[in-house]
Symmetry: D2
Subunit: 471 residues, 4 copies
């Protein structure tokens, strides 16, 4: 479940729970099931009559929480977050959730995504008296809510604030007696709500509901803010402008295969994309091999469609957390495999169709192809279950700048040569749409990374800000 | 990789390395790749001109070793072990490897398996002056080697000792300048040798070779003892009686899918068993679902043979080690899933063929079937990729006594009723043999757990000794 | 060095370092030497051209920092803090230092003490747009500095802010290229500056200088703000009103005996107070026993003055940190001693003069007297090396409300009876002054806890706010 | 309490408990109070109807034990050990206690001290069939008990074994229903027995009794073996040859000041030695300073006798365990003090009498004298509260070989010059005897390290064996 082998980083996960005894305990298991969305840090804040109780830190859920500190997070409402790994930006001050003390009532915020106009808003707010302790957009949003300094009508303050920010976000706000859950008006990243006993839970992915036995109710809509309190659920639309554009990489790479996004199961999406990949690019080979874990479903689909046997030609080494001793460069040079190893007896002497979900920088693909050849593969045909990744993402996905994206500067043939494959094929954008099985309702996909069609204004969002803390 | 969801416990793994600088570093990565064979404890002993250096403890490889204690294990020869979890027997005194100080030279031992006549030998040795500090067969074997008190001809002492023990064992012995690797004369459990630079490594499974970039040479033979020193490899047969009977559960359940055992890849074995399972028991259903992780290959085979789509209907929660906070019974009752969760959107409204590798006590299967029905499955047909498990194993596999094996006291129909399936089918023994692809050479399978055909004398090995420390 | 046996809690320590390579490394050792001032949490922030690097958490310095996270705190300027333990208020959001991001430049703050008018200032600031994430006065001060929103003249912003706060504080502010160190205008708590190589360090106590080999320059003055940058040290007085009132409990209880405060060594102060205690209250006894560790110096003084032998009649059990397993109540009832144990062979049959530094609630004294009697002491005369503690402290010392202070509601005779002593004597306030050896220059002592003479306006600081987070 | 600043290492501590519920819990607190006798490793074994339960490891008591592993050590009988630190010999295989499985009944052993003829006995036993897994004398003794292979009369087997070993040992043996506690016939190291509720405890030092609320009964005699079971206490003398020679370093350096050894309190012994030191060597000086912690009592005595004020001129930095980050050599060179720091304001301008307990190699004394001079001391007169340490100890104290002892090759004047003192004086052997206050009964002192008068045969115990594992 450690995704750091890929060059794309997951973009955080959020979880909220209302009206359930020992809420933080559920948050622990839910965050654990969302761990694939972020391994750098995590945190939980709970609330009860004594106030808000926070524990957060740098590391995996199982590393940061223990029985003692979890037991201190008392209360029936809780908010949790997992954060993606980056060495470039952000220290522990960016670990979420954030809590805010205010004479009109305390509150806490966690979100995932990226706010495009955060720099402008920060300057605006600093000039009005705000002082920030991190580069997190969650902190920014807390200040936006409070910018009017009015003491009541919180829902209107939140809706006003939501209308000021542009970009991608799924956000949960916790007050002493209420949860608010909201999504940007494009609905870039998933956020759903479920029932748990007499209470409610909100999560980035539905797999978190399954982990704790909650019953899925529905996805939160783009431009919607849900408030949950002792009256139950109420819905408000903070924007009439809505243009549903779900991040296609959620299906392709980020989400867990057992999650459903906008009514479409992730595993099913991937498998169908694999079938369509064969339809578009039928390769003559002996076996189909997927790059674990995210490309396994597509590989199965390709195998089913083609009749070419699906085989476990690559195995992912399991390891977790900070306690693992990384092999030195010397050991790696001598053949110690850190994350992926080829299964020699399966790939040796075989013509392989290698299914991968995407190529971002190309270095990983290059290593895998070489690895397979060294293990005896006679041919390696690389089929990518998505179009060519050519444009930077500004909505919360850390894939780097134009310079870092091999697809933005190289032709397919050049990429094929670079990664050393016998052939290289990409899935078409049409087929990608078809992979959703046309059951996403009115929801369209954000495919900016493939075709540069950015749904939002980009302001003066420059490349050097790509590495800023987004989550 | 945590296998404790199943009622069968893995039975330890061994690793030896000779003639490689920083040998213990390689042992760390190799043991990590063998972690699925035992999660209770682990240890590494290395040797150099300063003597033997040992570190071992209760926990996973990543929990027990850190940079500092690993760095203290200096030398070019090392021996490592991972131990399976049990709460019934054995404390930390049974954690391997064992080291022995002797005026004729120090040595260390690690093994996996179970020696049938250990109780008799212990009494015999205690009466000759031995004093044991554990219930481990490795310690027993150390005493057997030294029982003659002769100061030279160590290889003959080892071969004499090997001829005294009856049962299942793969064992590695380390001296200050040599490694010995040996298998019982039935070859119950795997042990292979590979080349690493100018040195050699020995491991329970070939996946350990891939993890560290070693090149497979061959399996060690039943009844063979290999000695590795500065002369290279030498082989001795300590017994003329040999009857190769590889434990069939190594293929079915224990080994990692990327390992090869006796020339047969484990994933391939399992996949073929799934194909044959369909041939014997074609079920009319909408999807094929495998119980992760060990039954996924068989499920793929069943799917390929039947044309019924293979779907990810069950997902395994990843968690590791001692730091994970186990959910309370109350939370479990409320739906917090510890290890497996059904993927509702995939299984709902579907007729399912559920592929599992085996049924030992039946409780797990019962839970899974119920889980799938609660998630909306309309039919659940259980197909087991092995025959009915009816006889206790005395050769190192902890599956319990006759009373605990549902297969030994219940008919197939009774088991079906107990687990709540719509139908229940087992693979035939013949098909199981066929699954090896007939490429295991002269190696036969030990199938005592299926048909009671125990290859060895059982002495007076009684049921109450089943829980004794075996590994 | 764990002070939690006493009913008085230490009130945090600060440390700053400028112009020294690997500044955070020195901060580690310096904070370790200040650990007695706070054991609940600690943190270090460093700065270099990459920005500010923060690590903080709940626990001892040795628990929170390890080689890896310390190595990430790069730069030649650093700021550190240790925080006192409380279970009543404040979670990890109050752990210092705080860092602030601002378009005019980032900065970080740590302080110890208590700001009397913080509630008023918070409300004022929130109404101007501030949003707080903790109840820490350091965060409050960051907002005060930025309240004018002017982009330059930082020193004037700081001085303005300093003039707005009333109370006790020793504060260090770090910017990307400068350290500011300042004390409240009463100089309640110590803060000194020293030279280290070509750089400078600032610390709550001089013992931190000795720990890292720095050379003491001078104490920072009340009402002074020092700025340290590549020009060296510059001094500004932000207030003309100054009335030096060093907290007398720093000498009596808080500081390490090897520290000098206002030119007066703490051990020497305590020893002289012990001598004067004998002059005022000569008791006829066999041995003098001090309550470790803070009362040992006074006990030595009493012994020297009286000629009654000083003996080690009480021993403090050493233990540290969160890993220590606290004995259950049952074990404590059965005699398991957690923190202090009497030395039977020394106290048995003896008439004891027990020297303690203070009585706050009386429960500890009561336990000690009982313990000594059970160990065979025939008489226990309690001599307190300070006057009767009768008034709550509002300046950063957590001793509780009037109700909790036995001295505010009980006569000396009632207290004697409660603690079970044969006699009870307090040192006079005059003698306490004399203990400083008259070498503190113009510095007077704050003795509000003894005589209710609070040097500052108390605003509407009510008892219920005593438990608020102060440090 | 970390003694590794000194060049002498403590030599382990033992603790046994019989007939008390949750025996291991008491062992935890008792071992914690004995931690000064050994910081390298520790272990506890308990026993109940389920068998023996062991946990041990390398580190401090608070590092090795946690609530979970301590809770697993069930039963009413337990045995514990703390082990001294050495980097030279012995890995984790030497950590005590040892447990032995035997068909006649399991047992466990822990001891401290050093058996002189262990090499001879090991060879003898190995030739009779013994096989050792460590270099520990506890393991050796287990084999000696079982050498006769008789199945009954355990007490006679133990007494026979005791008569075969020569040297220094305090040993506790635990069986499923009994504790045996025994001392060598010279009584080199302390071992006492106490009552705890309806049960009994045995410990190396009486401070362990105070820690858990046990009532001292008496010291175990040289040459005595005590057995404790449901009948109560029984005593046997295994040897008629007895010559009580308590290790004088126990009084001078090892034991905690609150412990009583042979009826003489350690603090009192040290204090009297300080008084006598003044009588023999009256120095004209301004202050008396003791080297913490072991020399503080002697310094107080010198001060009382001389009337020269005792001052806290040196302070010991508190730190513990493996988590402390050791300063690099570079930092140490720059003045970062690891263990001791001078209190400048106290020592500056002063003529100092520095009291230390002993000089072993001289390097520490040299550093301390230099430190004091750098802090401004005008004169440093070193008075050692014991005679010149000139002979290696073979009885369990790790002080090194003749070559390493500065006292064996240098005159007092040469040593004075080496350590840079203005004068250097040693206490006479007569005065040392007098320090015991003549209340040790018939117990004499082993002063071999001062005068070479080794009470036992030394066999062919050579210098190179000094570094062997003793404890």
């Amino acid at each position: 479940m450690m995704q750091d082998f890929k060059e794309i980083h997951h973009e955080c996960g959020v979880f909220g729970i209302y009206g359930v005894e020992n809420a933080a305990q559920y948050a622990y298991y839910a965050l654990h099931s969302l761990q694939h969305r972020g391994q750098q840090g995590c945190g939980i804040v709970s609330t009860d009559s004594q106030g808000m109780h926070l524990h957060k830190g740098a590391g995996l859920v199982i590393e940061i929480f223990n029985k003692r500190n979890l037991a201190e997070l008392t209360g029936n409402i809780a908010l949790g977050h997992v954060r993606y790994p980056t060495t470039n930006v952000g220290g522990m001050e960016n670990i979420q959730p954030f809590i805010f003390n205010h004479h009109t009532g305390n509150f806490a915020i966690a979100h995932n995504g990226n706010i495009i106009n955060s720099a402008e808003l920060r300057l605006y707010l600093e000039r009005r008296g705000s002082l920030f302790q991190s580069s997190s957009d969650s902190e920014l949003f807390g200040h936006l809510i409070k910018k009017e300094r009015s003491e009541d009508h919180r829902i209107y303050n939140i809706m006003d604030a939501l209308n000021m920010i542009e970009g991608a976000f799924s956000m949960i706000i916790m007050t002493p007696n209420r949860l608010y859950a909201c999504r940007d008006k494009y609905g870039f990243h998933p956020l759903s709500i479920a029932k748990l006993g007499s209470g409610y839970v909100v999560a980035s992915e539905t797999c978190a509901f399954d982990a704790i036995g909650a019953e899925f109710i529905r996805d939160i809509n783009p431009g919607e803010v849900i408030s949950i309190d002792h009256h139950g659920i109420r819905s408000n639309d903070y924007s009439t402008f809505k243009r549903h554009r779900m991040c296609v990489m959620e299906y392709i790479y980020f989400a867990r295969p057992d999650s459903d996004i906008e009514g479409c199961n992730v595993h099913s999406f991937r498998k169908l994309s694999g079938r369509l990949l064969y339809r578009e690019h039928p390769v003559d080979a002996d076996i189909v091999v997927g790059v674990p874990d995210s490309s396994l479903s597509a590989a199965m689909g390709y195998s089913e469609a083609s009749g070419i046997p699906y085989e476990m030609g690559l195995l992912k080494n399991k390891y977790v957390g900070r306690t693992f001793i990384q092999p030195t460069q010397e050991l790696r040079d001598k053949g110690v495999k850190m994350k992926l190893s080829p299964v020699r007896s399966i790939v040796s002497g075989k013509r392989i169709v290698l299914i991968d979900d995407s190529i971002v920088r190309g270095t990983t693909s290059r290593q895998i192809v070489r690895m397979l050849r060294e293990a005896g593969a006679t041919e390696v045909h690389v089929c990518i279950a998505s179009p060519k990744y050519s444009y930077p993402c500004y909505y919360g996905v850390d894939t780097g700048t134009y310079d870092e994206l091999i697809g933005s500067s190289h032709t397919t043939e050049q990429i094929r040569e670079y990664i050393g494959a016998d052939s290289l094929y990409y899935l078409s954008l049409d087929a990608l749409y078809e992979s959703s099985g046309r059951n996403m309702g009115k929801c369209e996909l954000c495919t900016a990374c493939f075709n540069g069609d950015y749904p939002t204004d980009l302001y003066n969002y420059t490349e050097d800000r790509l590495r800023h803390d987004k989550c």
